[in-house]
Each structure stands twice: as structure tokens, then as C-alpha cells.
Amino acid sequence: MSDDIKHHIPVYKNVFIALLILTACTVGASYIHFSYAWIGLLVGLLIASAKGYLVASQFMHLNNEKRFIYGVLTLTVVFFFVLLLMPLLWDENSVAHGNGAYENVSHEHSDEGHHHEGGH
């Protein structure tokens, strides 16, 4: 058992270095002006996902876990995506069809001549 654990130590150190490098990449990528905003968004999320994968698989040992935990997490991921999609339904029903709260915001701001929200 001890020997098994000892084999993990260099892996943890390598993951640590990889996470620091990826953090530097995240910050560096934010200073690059991509021709399309969504490319920057995609790059940022891809790097964050890579970091998340390293933490989850190595530090949380999800690369070698019991089936029960995979089952719980699969269910969680499904509901997580349902949560992410719910605003799209809300958006479709209210903003796109002219019932959204932001119409009022737009009206107020156009009256006040503001170009963005914020302020007391």
C-alpha cells in the first residue's frame, strides 16, 4: 500500500506544475485580442476545463473511483446541464417575446442617457 502511495507523489508534483502553467496560460490568453470574442471565451473555458480535469482526476482520484460515485456524478452532470439550459428557456419566453425586464431597463437608461448599467 505504501509503495502504491509513493508512486503518486511525483504525479501530484507534476500536476501542481501543470496547474501553475495552465493558470499562466489563462491569464496570458485573456490579454490576446482574438478576432471573434467567442474564440477567447472558448480558449478560457478549455484551459479551465483542463485544469478542472487534472484536479478532479488526480487530486480527487476520479480516474480510479468506484462505480457508485461515477453514477452519482453522471446524474449530477445531467442536472447541471439542465440548469444551464433553463435560462435559455427563460430567455426565449420573456426577452425574445417582449416580456423581459430589460425592456424597462433599456427605457430607463435611454431616458437617463446612460450607456451601461451601474451607479447609484
Binding site: 500500500m1 505504501s2 502511495i5 509513493k6 503518486h8 507523489i9 501530484y12 508534483k13 500536476v15 501542481f16 496547474l19 501553475l20 493558470t23 489563462t26 491569464v27 490568453a29 485573456s30 477567447g40 471565451l41 478560457g44 473555458l45 484551459i47 479551465a48 485544469k51 478542472g52 484536479v55 478532479a56 487530486f59 480527487m60 468506484k66 462505480r67 457508485f68 460515485i69 452519482v72 456524478l73 446524474l75 449530477t76 442536472f79 447541471f80 440548469l83 444551464l84 433553463m86 435560462p87 427563460w90 430567455d91 426577452v95 423581459g100 430589460y102 431597463v105 433599456s106 437608461h109 446612460h114 450607456h115 451601461h116 448599467e117 451601474g118 451607479g119 447609484h120
Partner: protein, 196 residues
């Protein structure tokens, strides 16, 4: 009466009690932060007057905080490894380092929040700042929760090592899983709020 499966693995799940419990708790945490991320995406994408907080947030300080949390995740997993190797002194050292990084994170966050408040950037200033304070504030509460648990394990909780070393090691593994999740949340909060 001895509670079953505190140390031994249940034959059906292959898990001990605390590990099953923490994973169910973490699943609920995913939904909690997921709801906030979901609200953030909705508010940001549908608001034509979104106040871009990137211009007022301190990226170098947030990068330092990211490095602190990543370091604390490594020291946390190393404290568990130390217990597996029956080295209590190294466990104490790594857990102290984890605590040090956690307090470092809170101190940096204190300076960040203070600077915002001093300039009048309170949650009521804009929806984007309300999102920023809600999401980072909830994350800070999780960091404080972790610190309380670590202080217990380095203080009175360490006595269990003498009576039930296997169960104590399991407790540290479970605390570690929670802490790595806190790190994981920050990994996504950092680019979402500060960079994108």
C-alpha cells in the same frame, strides 16, 4: 455500539460512510454553484447594459489567489499521503501549509473587497458586481468552512490518530475531497469573472 463501515468498505458500494456522504454533498454543491453560474450566464448574455467588471478587478491579486488555492490543494493531498505513510509530523506540516495558503487566500480577498468598497463598488452598484460578490462571497464562505475543519484536525481532532488511525486517515481524505472541490470552483470562477 460500533457504527459499521466507518473504516471498512461497504460490499455493495465499495465505499466507507464518510466518502459516500461527501460525494453526495459535493453533488449538491455542484448544483448550488451551477445555479449561480447559470444565473450569471443568463444575466450577462441578456443584458445590453452589462457593466464590464474586468476593468475594475485586480487580475494579479486573483492570479495570486489561484496559485495559493492550487498550492493548498497539493499540500492537502500530501497531508493525506503522509498519513497513509504513517508519518504524523509530515501530516501536520502539510496541513499547516494548507492552512497558511487558505488564510493567504482570505487576506488577499479582504484587500480586494476593501478596495472595491472604498471606491463605492458595492453589490448594489450593478448586476455584474452583484454577481461577483455573490459568487466569490459564497466561495469565501466555503474557504472559511474548510479552515474550520482543518483547525479541528490539527487541534483536538488529531487525537483520533492514536485510537483509530484508519478512520482519521479517511476523515482527512474526505476533508481533502471538499477542499479540492473548493479549488475546482475557483478554477472556473477566476476566468469567468476576472478574465472573460
Amino acid at each position: 455500539m460500533k457504527i459499521p463501515y466507518n473504516e471498512d468498505l461497504r460490499p455493495d458500494t465499495g465505499l466507507y460512510n464518510a466518502k459516500l456522504g461527501i460525494w453526495l454533498f459535493l453533488a449538491s454543491e455542484v448544483m448550488l454553484f451551477g445555479a449561480l453560474f447559470s444565473a450569471y450566464i443568463m444575466l450577462r448574455s441578456s443584458n445590453p447594459y452589462w457593466f464590464d467588471i474586468k476593468t475594475i478587478l485586480n487580475v494579479p491579486l486573483a492570479t495570486l489567489n489561484t496559485a495559493l488555492l492550487i498550492t493548498s490543494s497539493v499540500t492537502m493531498v500530501m497531508s493525506w499521503v503522509s498519513l497513509k505513510l504513517k508519518d504524523l509530523n509530515k501530516f501536520k506540516l502539510y496541513l499547516m501549509l494548507t492552512l497558511l495558503c487558505s488564510f493567504g487566500f482570505l487576506i488577499v480577498k479582504y484587500f480586494e473587497y476593501s478596495a472595491k468598497f472604498a471606491h463605492g463598488y458595492i453589490p448594489a452598484y450593478s448586476t455584474s458586481l452583484a454577481c461577483y460578490f455573490t459568487m466569490t462571497g459564497l466561495h469565501v464562505l466555503h474557504v472559511i468552512g474548510g479552515i474550520i475543519v482543518f483547525l479541528y484536525f490539527i487541534g483536538p481532532g488529531i487525537d483520533m490518530w492514536n485510537s483509530e488511525p484508519e478512520r482519521f486517515t479517511n476523515r482527512i481524505e474526505v476533508a481533502g475531497l471538499y477542499w479540492h472541490f473548493v479549488d475546482l470552483v475557483w478554477i472556473f470562477l477566476f476566468p469567468a469573472l476576472y478574465l472573460l
